[in-house]
């Protein structure tokens, strides 16, 4: 027996550069020039989770993405980590997709692969960060799905014990394959790519599928298939006056305490008369 595992990844602009993202004042488009495209960081945890299951039970790891043609580079990187095959879903008709249309298209790509046991996703992307695609993909595929998985065990091949994060705590689950798991960064530590990995990746297959290769309803694709529409974009103005405090540490501390009080914080300084006789 062996596991058939699919990992969904998303190429994103490197989050280390998001301070440099801006809106072109004329075209009103988001400019992200010069920012390198990388595999969405938590998607590497998804790849790692898949590779670990494969090494426990055998099988195959297929990495899939819906992206522009140059995303083959990101797929190649996933193959260098150890995945077996890459699928790029790329077509102009897929463009402008929101989470519902994206998850639909990914589902159709995965269905074309044939049967699967587990689909892994990262819990959210660094750029859009809606964290919605995985849950909606689970719905399109008609399989049980969990989001924000931070611990994962597979005591049996097709039965998993999983923990998901909740506020200040965790939920524990039993989930049967076929299923979908969206992982959080705590789930594992993605492996580094070895030189051998890079060499092997060169001969691993990457296929590109366009709309014509999939059995899809056109009205569910891309912009047309997206119930949400984008309105205006803007950069929030968060500027404050940034008044610089001067002085030696003692003076600075007094100045900060004064500001805290002015900001509505009561300060209880025992035995001090500085604030007019204590509290």
């Amino acid at each position: 027996m062996a596991l058939n595992i699919v990992v969904c990844i998303k190429p994103v602009p490197d989050p280390a550069y998001y301070d440099k993202v801006s809106i072109d004042p004329v075209t009103k488009r988001i400019t992200r020039e010069g920012i390198p495209t990388i595999i969405n960081p938590v998607d590497k945890n998804a790849i790692e989770a898949a590779l670990q299951l494969k090494s426990a039970y055998g099988g195959k790891v297929t990495v899939i993405t819906m992206a522009p043609p140059n995303a083959t580079e990101n797929l190649r990187e996933a193959l260098a980590m150890g995945a077996d095959e890459g699928i790029l879903l790329s077509d102009r008709a897929f463009g402008g997709a929101d989470t519902l249309a994206t998850s639909y298209t990914l589902a159709k790509g995965i269905e074309k692969l044939g049967s699967f046991d587990i689909v892994f996703c990262g819990a959210e992307s660094a750029d859009g960060a809606t964290a919605q695609v995985s849950s909606q993909l689970g719905e399109w595929l008609g399989v049980p799905h969990l989001w924000n998985v931070f611990a994962l065990e597979a005591p049996e091949e097709k039965q998993l014990r999983v923990k998901t994060k909740i506020e200040n705590g965790a939920m524990e689950w039993e989930i049967k394959a076929p299923c979908l798991l969206a992982v959080a960064r705590e789930v594992n530590k993605p492996r580094f790519i070895s030189a051998m990995g890079i060499i092997k990746a060169k001969n691993k297959p990457i296929s590109t599928w366009s709309k014509a290769d999939l059995i899809v309803e056109d009205s569910r694709l891309g912009l047309e298939g997206s119930p949400t529409k984008a309105g205006g974009v803007f950069t929030p103005d968060l500027k404050r006056k940034g008044e610089m405090l001067k002085g030696d540490p003692e003076q600075i501390v007094e100045e900060i305490l004064q500001r805290l009080r002015a900001g509505g914080i009561s300060i209880d300084l025992d035995g001090s008369c500085e604030w007019g006789g204590g509290k």
């Binding site: 993202v21 519902l100 960060a129 909606q136 799905h145 924000n148 524990e172 997206s226 405090l245 914080i265």
Partner: protein
């Protein structure tokens, strides 16, 4: 037919999540903007949750849709989503709001897929436009960019909002009106997904969201000792200590539940004091609504100073130790 604005009334064992009251307040405002006879309702699922109906009515829910069943004691998307989808198909709400909590972040998009409608994720503001459509401001690129999201053609127009983004308003009590949901839709057979347990840690000290003053530490803290000092300082003020992503990754802070930012919490204390924080957009997005922002960073060009009211360009050790010495 009356227009309806729904709020998912998330609760985990011990009570309703505060975000529910924040959303009910916002729903009331949106209802006023929509005009006409717009009705605010809450959708409540769980086991033994009927007593919460009164609290929801107190905060403005004119109707509470209730599914109270032992099977719903622990959240399970395979149980919750079908019930809510069927209810929404029948009642056709105009707007449906979810807290962007761990559970809401999964349930919202799951329900949306069932209804083939759109969700604006992690809204930081929302309003009704002149076409009577919901306009939601949604952050992307770690909060650097805000985009307006509309859902013009499908209903409900859904949105998720992180806890702490909106402020809970004063109560606006409505007569209790409970409508029971159809529990015959609950699957009888064995599900491939079972919730086994739910653990919630008791929060020590003042919860981050409720603190008047928050002391926040970033990568510049440099070590665990300084984090401990921050916690001490917070305790002196009856406030809370918080952190950025790097301080979580370095293992200095108590953990991710104390993290402020786009993938963490949004806070609006009276005063925020940041130590060793450079000012990455991801973090700023979570603290920008603080009353007063004071930042301590030895780099006088730190970007965080631009979004601060008060800037202290000094070695944070001196300031931390100085404050502790002065106050203890």
């Amino acid at each position: 037919m009356k227009k309806k604005i729904w709020v998912f009334a998330e609760q985990v064992k011990c009570g309703l999540d505060p975000v529910v009251f924040e959303l009910l307040t916002k729903a009331g405002e949106l209802a006023a903007e929509l005009g006409g006879e717009t009705e605010v309702a809450a959708v409540l699922l769980g086991d033994g949750v009927e007593p919460f109906c009164g609290l929801l009515a107190e905060q403005g829910a004119e109707v509470v849709y209730l599914a109270d069943d032992p099977a719903l004691g622990m959240y399970n998307p395979m149980l919750y989503a079908p019930l809510i989808v069927e209810l929404a198909k029948k009642e056709e709400p105009e707007i449906f709001l979810f807290g962007a909590t761990a559970i809401g972040s999964q349930l919202g998009p799951t329900v949306a897929a069932g209804l083939s409608t759109g969700v604006a994720a992690h809204c930081v503001d929302m309003r009704i436009n002149s076409d009577k459509l919901l306009v939601a401001d949604v952050p992307s690129f770690g909060g650097k960019i805000l985009g307006e999201i509309l859902c013009p053609d499908t209903r409900p127009q859904m949105a998720s909002v992180k806890p702490g983004i909106f402020v809970q308003g004063p109560p606006c009590p409505k007569p209790l009106n409970v409508v029971k949901m159809d529990l015959s839709l609950l699957p009888k057979s064995d599900l491939p997904l079972k919730a086994l347990s739910l653990e919630k840690k008791e929060v020590e000290g003042v919860p981050l969201e409720k603190a008047d003053i928050v002391f926040c530490g970033g990568y510049g803290l440099g070590n665990k000792e300084n984090w401990d000092k921050l916690v001490k300082l917070a305790a002196i003020f009856g406030g809370a200590a918080a952190c950025t992503r790097p301080a979580v990754d370095e293992g200095w802070s108590g953990g991710e539940h104390l993290m402020i930012g786009t993938s963490g919490k949004s806070i609006r204390p009276k005063v925020y004091v940041g130590f060793g924080i450079s000012g990455a957009t991801h973090h700023i997005c979570g603290m920008k609504d603080s009353g007063l922002i004071i930042s301590v960073n030895k780099d006088e060009k730190a970007p965080v100073f631009e979004v601060s009211d008060v800037a202290v360009a000094m070695d944070l050790n001196k300031v931390l130790d100085g404050m502790l010495a002065r106050l203890s």
